[in-house]
């Protein structure tokens, strides 16, 4: 039987696992969590100045293969991410791993027909109907998870009993991964939303609010930003983040037109990946009275490098502080923490004035 795996990103391996488990007649090897070791392995075999997600995903792939996977899935994006798979496959084969790599995007396009053909090779009994049914549930699951995350981000800094949000979220995800049908998922979602809102918090009206923007992989994979959000929450901040899978898959297409109009005095075109989105979000955060902005990206992320100058310009005009983080394989946790603390202290001082 085929043993299938995929690169990890945040909590999204849970819906991905769910979909594959229910749709494919194959063994699913859950990808291991990204650790310092993963990054070390990934960097060792990656080209020197490739962007960091390449190194992370390559590292995960190697670890999955060592766990027994023989078929890997890679995704695409609006930049060079879409071209990762071909080189990663070559690197893995040169290393002597006999694997198959399924790239969901090829030549800049997603072809359902091609993906269908590839899946048929793995599982000849694959049924389209089943895929559509479970695909629908998975999409809803992602949306529910993103909604819950948004609520958590706004409130986790103010929980009275430390760890209560995290504990409930873990329980929620565990239950989500076991649902049998959509009805059950919806019921669970409603139940958990209620429980989340019941968690006791102490949130002052004038708490500091910051927005996190940046490159999509780094922003969604907790290890690559060193639990940045958690660190922020410790300092009692309310966090707004825009990018999640639901946005990328379903909202971006509509929203980007609105974004370009909204930030029309700064940008006319899309700049690749989420760069233009982040420029518009900067303006939004400034207009909405946020106290500060944190921009995070992986090293060498070309679209975001282009956007950074514009983001800085907008923030200067509105006099809102921005903190830029560029993560690579050598970024030290302590360095990130120190810079965050200094940033937080500055925001506090500004607020008191």
């Amino acid at each position: 039987m085929t043993k299938i795996s995929f690169p990890i990103m945040g909590d999204y391996h849970i819906p991905a696992n769910y979909l594959l488990k229910n749709v494919l007649n194959a063994e699913i090897i859950s990808p291991p969590m990204v650790t310092a070791k993963t990054i070390e392995i990934g960097s060792k075999y990656s080209p020197e100045f490739v962007c960091t997600p390449f190194k992370y995903t390559l590292g995960t792939m190697i670890e999955s293969i060592e766990k027994g996977a023989d078929t890997l899935i890679q995704m695409g994006g609006g930049c060079r991410y879409g071209y990762y798979a071909e080189l990663q496959e070559k690197i893995l084969k040169d290393l002597g791993y006999d694997i198959k790599l399924i790239n969901l995007v090829t030549k800049g396009k997603t072809s359902i027909k091609r993906i269908y053909r590839l899946i048929k090779q793995i599982d000849p009994k694959f049924s389209k109907l089943k895929a559509i049914y479970y695909g629908f549930i998975t999409i809803k699951m992602v949306k529910y998870m993103d909604n819950i995350d948004e609520y958590i981000r706004e409130n986790i800094g103010f929980e009275i009993e430390e760890g209560s949000f995290e504990y409930l979220k873990e329980k929620c995800l565990r239950d989500f991964s076991k649902v049998k049908n959509y009805k059950e998922l919806k019921k669970l979602y409603k139940k958990y939303i209620k429980q989340f809102t019941k968690i006791q918090i102490h949130k002052p009206d004038n708490c500091l609010k910051i927005g996190i923007i940046g490159e999509l992989y780094t922003i969604m994979e907790p290890f690559s930003n060193y639990f940045l959000e958690k660190e922020l929450a410790k300092n009692k901040l309310e966090i707004k983040r825009f990018t999640n899978v639901n946005y990328l898959l379903f909202e971006k297409r509509k929203t980007i037109k609105h974004y370009l109009k909204y930030a029309g005095e700064y940008i006319k075109y899309q700049m690749g990946a989420d760069a233009a989105d982040n420029i518009a979000r900067t303006k939004y955060l400034c207009e909405e009275g946020y106290d500060g902005i944190i921009h995070i990206k992986s090293a060498f992320c070309t679209p975001e490098i282009g956007a950074m100058g514009v983001i800085n310009k907008i923030a200067n005009q509105y006099e809102i502080p921005v903190l830029f983080f560029s993560f690579d394989a050598n970024t030290s946790e302590t360095g990130v923490k120190t810079r965050l603390e200094a940033f937080y202290d500055m925001l506090e001082m500004r607020k008191r004035k």
Partner: protein, 300 residues
């Protein structure tokens, strides 16, 4: 009359000839920034972002040089020639980046064949904005394209003929804005020619052929200019002695494409990645030993 400033960088090396004939025909005055020099590069470093690629920094330097010497800067945006032929994301964002740095007015058009936005439409837009009548613009476009095609054909013939040369032949795989830039590629070419090497250029082949041939090295590639670069390797691999990969640090497409190709080819190669701190002395040493190796190989 309004004067147009053309930065001698990135887009210039693809469209410069067309622009020049187009504006000449319409009698629109223009100024082209000089070859890249240390001064231009340094202004580019000042205004550009730290992590931008060397070519983009240089481009910004050229814009800074021109901004007070013209009424408009000419900065196109090249998105794609169809979804299988996209460009680096810097080609998408240069217009907006420059527009946010300088106050100068910018003439801009967008090429996005996936959305039926062609070069012709772009130049008509530019002509109209400069107040020229439609029929004149159409004539100017035809004139410019024909002249460009003739020149391009000549260049392709010369370059292809070099493959039959008796000298040691090296294929220089590089984007034209690096190859022909004074601070990036020119010194390398000069050095190779001095050493009696036949230098063959990856961008001077029939792009229809090289684009298709690239599939032999990379099936999933969707960057137009990278495809043409590696297609030239497939086209000429039996006739050349060595390959030099030349990139500007940290080029996004090259970081992946060149790595893949280097893992697949059997021809001897070196990989030169230049940034603003590179000195030619270091490059020279590497070129020297590469050529020695090639010469040694020939004597075997």
């Amino acid at each position: 009359m309004d004067k147009i400033g053309i930065p001698r960088s990135i887009f210039y090396y693809y469209y410069g000839d067309i622009w020049k004939s187009f504006f000449d025909y319409l009698k629109i005055p223009y100024i082209i920034s000089p070859n890249t020099n240390k001064e231009i590069m340094n202004i580019g470093l000042k205004y550009g972002g730290d992590e931008m690629c060397l070519a983009l920094k240089t481009y910004i330097g050229h814009c800074a040089y021109l901004k007070d010497k013209c009424n408009y800067l000419l900065i196109p945006r090249i998105d794609n020639y169809g979804l299988e032929n996209q460009t680096c994301t810097n080609f998408l964002s240069t217009y907006d980046i420059v527009n946010n740095i300088f106050d100068t007015k910018i003439l801009n058009y967008n090429i996005n064949l996936d959305n039926k936005e062609t070069l012709k439409k772009g130049l008509i837009k530019i002509g109209t904005e400069l107040g020229k009548p439609k029929h004149e613009i159409n004539k100017a476009y035809k004139y410019a394209i024909n002249k460009y095609k003739e020149k391009r054909k000549r260049e392709i013939t010369i370059n292809t003929n070099k493959l039959n040369s008796k000298k040691i032949k090296i294929l220089l795989v590089s984007h034209p804005y690096n190859t022909y830039d004074d601070l990036i590629g020119k010194e390398i070419i000069k050095y190779l020619e001095k050493e009696n090497i036949e230098v063959i250029f990856s961008d001077k082949f029939d792009e229809k052929i090289t684009n298709k041939l690239s599939e032999k090295l990379s099936k999933e590639l969707y960057f137009k200019y990278s495809k043409e670069n590696i297609g030239s390797i497939v086209y000429s691999k039996d006739k050349i002695d060595g390959i030099i990969f030349l990139s500007a640090f940290p080029c996004g497409p090259d970081s992946l494409v060149n790595e893949l190709v280097m893992r697949k080819i059997n021809t001897p190669y070196i990989n030169l990645v230049l940034d603003d701190t590179s000195s030619f002395t270091g490059t020279e040493t590497r070129l020297e030993s590469f050529i020695d190796m090639l010469k040694g190989g020939l004597n075997d």
